[in-house]
């Protein structure tokens, strides 16, 4: 008998005496607060900051000079650019551009200084940005290997209040990466240290239309 048949058979025998399956109560809250879009964006900023991401704000075309400044301040010489990133975002940046390609090796990615991505959405209550590999976000690894990640969030359209709202909007067949602050560990006497393996610096730009 295959392992599969053995396990399924054991499960069925184990449950021979079991009663009906319980209904799953869904009376938990959809959000934890009634907020204006501005208040939601502020909460997102506060929670990101608390997890030691750096938050910037920009309106409309001001995103280009802001990104150029952030890359320059970092001393970046090269920047990873996912396909579909709005070209004007990096119009003022003079770093060498590296395309996100399926055949680039981990070593090549490791040699890049910074990466700029958009996101699928951001969650205010938890201070989380979610990437789903859509346009402007690239493969999962590009927001991981370079040491400096700048993520642009369109406010208010890409910001939701809560985890349940986010889950309802996401497509599980896409590769999803949920990011809440930079990589961190608390394994040594529970002292929080940022940037063990992922980017040590996460900057989030909250971008409004005008």
């Amino acid at each position: 008998m295959s392992g599969r048949e053995q396990i399924l058979g054991r499960i069925r025998r184990a449950l021979a005496d079991a009663g009906p399956a319980p209904e799953i109560p869904r009376d938990y809250l959809r959000t934890h607060g009634d907020r204006t879009p501005d208040a939601t964006a502020d909460l997102l900023a506060a929670h990101l900051t608390e997890y030691r991401a750096t938050v910037h704000r920009a309106a409309g075309d001001a995103v280009a000079p802001l990104l150029a400044r952030l890359l320059a301040e970092r001393g970046a010489r090269s920047v990873l650019v996912p396909a579909g990133l709005p070209p004007h975002w990096l119009a003022a940046a003079d770093q060498v551009r590296i395309d996100d390609r399926s055949d680039s090796t981990p070593y090549e990615l490791d040699a890049v200084d910074s990466v700029v991505t958009g996101c699928a959405l951001a969650i205010a209550e938890t201070g989380t940005i979610v990437l789903d590999g859509g346009p402007g976000q690239g493969r999962r690894r590009i927001s991981l290997v370079p040491d400096h990640h700048i993520c642009v969030v369109r406010v208010p359209d890409q910001v939701v209040d809560s985890v349940p709202q986010a889950v309802a909007l996401l497509d599980p067949t896409r590769p999803l990466t949920w990011i809440s602050g930079p990589s961190a560990t608390s394994d040594i006497e529970l002292d929080r240290v940022e940037g063990v393996h992922g980017p040590r610096t996460l900057e989030v730009v909250l971008l409004t239309a005008q």
Partner: protein, 506 residues
Amino acid sequence: MTGTGGTGPGAPTDLGMPGFPPFPAAAREAVRDDTLRANLRRATHTIRDKRARAVAELADWEQLRAAGKAVKDHTLRHLDRYLIQLEAAVTAAGGTVHWAVDAAEANRIVTDLVLATGEREVVKVKSMATQETGLNEALEAAGIAAYETDLAELIVQLGHDRPSHILVPAIHRNRGEIRDVFAAEMGRWGRPAPGGLGDDPRELAEAARLHLREKFLRAKVAVSGANFMVAETGTMVVFESEGNGRMCLTLPETLISVVGIEKVVPTFRDLEVFLQTLPRSSTAERMNPYTTMWTGLGPSQGAESDGPTAFHLVLLDNGRTDTLADEVGRQALRCIRCSACLNVCPVYERAGGHAYGSVYPGPIGAILSPQLRGTASEIDASLPYASTLCGACYEVCPVAIDIPEVLVHLRERVAQGGPVTREGIRVRIRPARGHTAERAAMRAARLLLDHPGALRAGERLLARARRLRPRRLPGPGRAWTDSRELPPVPAEPFRDWWARERGGRA
């Protein structure tokens, strides 16, 4: 039977810690180790306090807890159906599903998969399931080096040590000890620690970053577990903090995930419950820094591929279906391994994780290990007694596992015998004749725990005579402490501690 593999029929699986002494003896050693106790106490108290704040932020915590419990119970009730659905979804998304009846079979499957790639090393994401099966040792026997990449697991691996906590496996080590381990051992595994390494956590984390990055960049095969699997879509979910998980899950060409069959949930939507309760219960954060979700090889392959080009899911039984067969005990399968119960447990705090003789320590270990591997061994027969039944574990559990209820149930099984399922077969175990100490312990424990007055009196006496370092309780407690020695000098009586810590709340 393919299931028993090389271990022989009836041989207990060792859950990663073979030949360990029973809880009372191991705990006796642990409570004499002052460094260990100090490290543990500081760590558990810090997480415990933070967790309470994180939970208090959500007004609907009790509803989320009830939903989490119901999602898991519902899934377990139809586990066969959901596993078949999961298998179909993973396969449709380009993955391959394997079924492993026990540890030996799981290890054999993984070893064969690695060998087939032609590689001789793998990077690993922290996973209880592969610790449970002893995968690293099995790989090593086949000439494959397995590198743990979680910082704490690295500390444990480099230190030739065993994990002592689900979430923070090196919780028993302080910075000085970690520095020494890094300085002495890193060079034997790869990039050595920088010369003159200090004991600042930042410096230590940087040393680990450099040491491991070398491995991530060249790794072709990774082994992981998963926190959840979604039956509806075939989506796998890994929660983590450091990014080592993301490195392993996205950079290598081949990804092999070994996951207990109880980790499945029906729908993607169900994750909304655990994405709220798991981080707050475990690291006491609103959200852990990284969560990765992937479905087979993803929607697009070839030029557009994102992540590994081969994905294998190994579904692990290893005693879980036996646990499922126990009406009272099956609730242990709801566990989402958050470790909240460890951090509130007065026994864990004093005894440390190693005393439980299993990769599953603390209150959950006390009910899970004896069910996964049976109560034939002394350590497993003694685990249901590794508790004061104070109920703190139940109170914090995000899926409302009534650990005290299961403990009492298992004590009865050990003491009186009764029907159990082992390796899929219904058998009747005899009362634990061979375990005189346990029977004595049980009698005394029952007396003490059924008569709180006796326990209180015993503890007070003990506290008053503190400077004399008594090792035995007087009167009715004597038999109990014969085998389960109390901490030689408890900082204070348990009940006083309880009243102070919990503000008198039941």
